[in-house]
């Protein structure tokens, strides 16, 4: 009998499930998202949110209910400072902007940590204080949205390709955190977040660890602000509250406990992506003038639903313990890739219709000529049978491996990752008509 897995990873099931559902709907409703341009702009739009979510995550893990609500105003603060100094021709070079942004982000977070440690007031009060102060000062520095971002940023935010510098920043940030999780410092951080007294009695230097977590958070905020500046190519002092609330939502959607100790970067990433996809999916439904309200309501409903689902996690974990997040991710990934392929194949070259009729789940039927390759019925049956057989074999193997072993082997990881990558590559190539489909 397989033992009950640690809840740490079981909580990832919800974001993964949500991601697959949202991604499927997104692909069906608006296939443009799986083109190179679509992915590129999606990354550009989602990156600031992802990084802001990381920033919240790293302090949330530190415990004491540290929800840094000031993350949005801080992001906006760095944004307006970059733009204002650029207007004054003081700081325009990439190096200068990065140093400036990182310095502000880290300085603010270190002050935050020191106030918590020395003055010993509840973190939520410090966050509240910072929120009010920064929102106020943002409007003082820049009365209304405007200004221009440094010139070198102009190509960043265009989103014409997947491999933009913004993706690089995102990958570095994610990879950096994953590397950080290998260090003992991270273990101390999680231990402190989970039970501060136990950590103290076992010799963890809590204050140092707390400052460290906040410094990391400051770095993430700075990177988020740079991405945000590149995205909107100007300064905007008004969006702080929205960013804060969205990032908090994303943290919760990612299965990260605001009470501390539980959470990982993939959860944060999934949470932010889910939130982006909710917006994307809703945008493909045409709600007319009430669009913004529907989006807001859906955020709220999904937030509550995913929280209520976490109540089910222990029950689920007890009964079907062989489902680990990774296998779930794999199964659902295969399903989503299959949907992508179906949509990609049934789509004529050059036409990527976004569903325009209200409330249809299936894409608009197309009337153009079918592409060159038309399989005969027998070929179709053969292909489907082969695919099902292959997938079934691998799936059963994975389930058996996962159910019997505590750790999933390197081979399994590599195999699954390779398959997913292959699937995604095929879809990406398919959906880009200009590069010519594979079947041509």
């Amino acid at each position: 009998m397989a033992e009950v897995r640690s809840p740490q990873s079981t909580y990832m099931l919800i974001p993964i499930l949500l991601l697959s559902i949202l991604l499927s709907i997104a692909v069906i409703r608006g296939p443009a998202i799986v083109t190179l341009e679509g992915l590129g702009s999606a990354i550009t739009v989602a990156a600031p949110l992802c990084l802001a979510t990381y920033a919240l995550m790293s302090v949330a893990i530190a415990g004491r209910g540290t929800v840094d609500l000031a993350v949005g105003p801080l992001l906006a603060f760095i944004n307006v400072i970059i733009v204002s100094l650029n207007e004054l021709d003081l700081v325009t070079s990439p190096l200068g902007v990065f140093v400036l942004a990182l310095a502000i982000g880290i300085a603010y977070q270190v002050v935050f940590a020191l106030v918590i440690i020395i003055v010993r007031v509840q973190p939520i009060i410090v966050a509240l204080s910072g929120f009010l102060a920064l929102s106020g000062i943002n409007r003082v520095i820049m009365q209304r949205p405007g200004g221009t971002a440094p010139e070198w940023m102009s190509t960043w935010g265009s989103g014409s390709t997947i491999f933009s510098p913004i993706l690089l920043l995102l990958v570095i940030a994610t990879g950096g955190w994953l590397l950080f999780t290998l260090s003992p410092f991270y273990k101390h951080l999680r231990m402190m977040g989970y039970d501060e007294r136990a950590a103290f009695t076992s010799g963890v230097r809590g204050n140092l660890v707390r400052v460290g977590a906040h410094v990391i958070s400051g770095i993430f905020v700075a990177l988020a602000a740079i991405c945000y500046t590149a995205l909107i190519a100007s300064g905007d002092p008004t969006q702080g509250t929205t960013i804060s609330l969205t990032a908090v939502t994303a943290v919760v959607l990612g299965g990260i406990s605001l009470a501390g100790g539980r959470g990982n970067v993939l959860g944060a990433l999934l949470g932010a992506i889910n939130l982006f996809l909710i917006g994307y999916v809703l945008a493909t439904f045409n709600f007319g003038s009430v669009q913004a309200f529907v989006t807001q309501m859906s955020y709220g409903l999904i937030l509550i639903a995913s929280l209520l689902l976490t109540l089910l996690v222990p029950v689920v974990g007890r009964h079907i313990s062989f489902i680990t997040p990774f296998s779930a991710f794999m199964v659902l990934g295969v399903v989503v890739v299959a949907i992508m392929l179906t949509v990609g194949i049934s789509m004529p070259e050059g036409a990527l219709p976004v569903a325009t009729t209200n409330y249809d789940l299936l894409p608009t039927p197309w009337t153009a000529e079918i592409a060159d390759f038309v399989p005969t019925p027998l070929q179709k049956v053969m292909m489907v049978a082969l695919a099902v057989f292959t997938l079934g074999t691998i799936m059963m193997r994975v389930v058996v491996v996962e159910a019997s072993a505590r750790r999933f082997g390197v081979f399994g990881h590599a195999l699954v990752a390779g398959m997913l990558f292959l699937g995604l590559a095929v879809v990406a190539l398919y959906s880009l008509p200009s590069s010519g489909g594979l079947l041509k």
């Binding site: 509240l128 009010l132 501060e196 919760v252 937030l303």
Partner: protein, 457 residues
């Protein structure tokens, strides 16, 4: 208890302080061009009262000191060294303030006025009070500090801003304090139980437009008013039951219901309307009178909302202090496990707190409709953090079990008077927000520090 300290040094010190302050008052009185008789009268009265208060405090200190150190009085070193050691932070703060004052006075000639001197002295006195005297008041220390700050703010504002103490301005301050105060009732209740309610601003906005929409549909206004409040209670119930199941996640849950409710209400009010998100209609007269600045209450020129707030405050304070309900709330907030073992239903009181919170938020939204005369979803936005700030400044612990609505009233008044003062000296809303943010920390730090981790092990 006698009213004169035993040590003659203390009496002399008190006398000197009294004389200095009386002399300042004397000079200022003549500077204002008041009648000589009045000046002398006021000086004598104030000097006498001050001397009595100082002696009273000195006596308390003496007795405390004797109680604390019965035997080893030989060890307690006397002299400059011990004074420095015991009051390091206070002395540094006072010297810093003095330095700032001198620098500004030296560098900026228009600053050299009698009002600023008084303002400076008041700040120094606040520091002394905050650090020294407030220790006497073990319970309600935050309320004491809050009251002192409130008093100082009123004094400074009255001196610097023309017309600050005019009836119109007082009415305006009280009216806005009423809106904030009513919205804070729920937040205080929830905080006493150790929760948080961030759905208040969203509920205010939603109630605001929903009420106007219902009135526009032809629903009898009084019925719509009651219905909106009941709906608010319903949302509070949902908040309560979900945050009870998901302990520690109240912040997110309430945020989620807030999003949902505003979205839903805006969708409902937008259907069939060409102006999405805007609701137009006529506010009934009685509602406008209830909350408008020129509202009348049986002929008195006082908006009924202020009286409503006062009545609600009295009810809530008394209910929290004397009723079984109030005592159970404190018991649960203080130590939930023990309270449960005593047989107090946790769920019941938790739910009640959130229901009250939802109802109060809806009531505030409805009253704000009467004040503004037009529905606007964003009317609740300023309340997102000000309700929390008022509760925290008042001294109610967000961890639960300590505080009360009386404290929150002080917090609300401090925020409103400060806001009125900042508007009076010509600062814009952004600067106000900035200053609020900066001020919350030191105020909370004075009385609501958590124990060090070393003390918790």
């Amino acid at each position: 208890m006698n009213f004169v300290p035993r040590s003659t040094a203390l009496v002399t010190l008190n006398l000197i302080i009294t004389f200095v302050i009386a002399a300042i008052g004397f000079g200022v009185g003549f500077g204002q061009g008041m009648l000589a008789q009045e000046v002398i009268l006021y000086t004598i009265i104030s000097a006498a009262v001050l001397f009595w208060i100082l002696n009273y405090i000195a006596v308390i200190y003496e007795s405390r000191f004797q109680a604390d150190k019965p035997a080893d009085s030989a060890e307690s070193a006397v002299g400059v060294g011990s004074v420095w050691r015991n009051n390091r932070v206070l002395i540094i703060a006072m010297v810093l303030l003095l330095a700032v004052y001198l620098i500004v006075t030296g560098a900026y000639p228009p600053f050299r006025s009698i009002y600023n001197l008084i303002g400076f002295l008041v700040l120094e006195v606040i520091l002394i009070f905050a650090f020294k005297v407030s220790n006497v008041f073990v319970h309600g220390r935050s309320a004491f500090i809050g009251l002192i700050v409130l008093l100082a703010l009123i004094v400074i504002s009255a001196f610097t801003i023309v017309g600050f103490l005019s009836p119109a301005n007082i009415r305006a301050v009280l009216l806005f304090a009423s809106f904030l105060g009513i919205a804070c009732i729920g937040q205080t209740m929830v905080a006493l139980m150790g929760g948080l309610d961030l759905s208040i601003p969203f509920l205010i906005g939603a109630a605001n437009i929903l009420l106007l929409y219902l009135v526009g549909l032809g629903v009898p206004p009084w019925f719509a008013f009651v219905a909106v409040i009941v709906l608010g209670c319903g949302i509070g119930f949902l908040n309560g039951i979900m945050s009870y199941k998901l302990q520690g996640q109240a912040l997110i849950i309430t945020l989620g219901t807030g999003f949902t409710v505003t979205g839903l209400v805006q969708i409902i009010t937008s259907i069939g309307s060409a102006f999405a998100g805007n609701v137009f209609g006529k506010v009934p007269d009685w509602l406008a009178n209830l909350a408008a600045m020129n509202g009348k209450f049986f002929g008195l020129a006082v908006p009924p909302t202020i009286l409503l707030w006062i009545a609600l405050s009295i009810i809530v304070v008394i209910a929290l202090r004397y009723s079984a309900y109030g005592r159970y709330v404190y018991a649960l907030g203080g130590n939930r496990r023990s309270a449960k073992l005593v047989g107090i239903s946790e769920l019941k009181y938790w739910l009640l707190a959130y229901i009250i919170s939802g109802g109060c938020a809806a009531l505030t939204g409805a009253l704000l409709l009467g004040w503004s005369g037009g529905g606007f979803i964003g009317v609740g936005d300023p309340y997102l953090f000000t309700t929390l700030a008022a509760v925290v400044i008042g001294g109610t612990s967000l961890a639960g079990g300590y505080g009360g609505y009386g404290f929150t009233v002080i917090g609300v008044l401090v925020l409103q008077v400060l806001s009125s003062f900042l508007i009076g000296i010509g600062l814009k809303y952004e600067w106000q927000q900035f200053i609020f943010g900066i001020l919350i920390l030191p105020m909370v730090a004075l009385y609501s520090r958590q124990p060090s981790i070393r003390a918790q092990v």
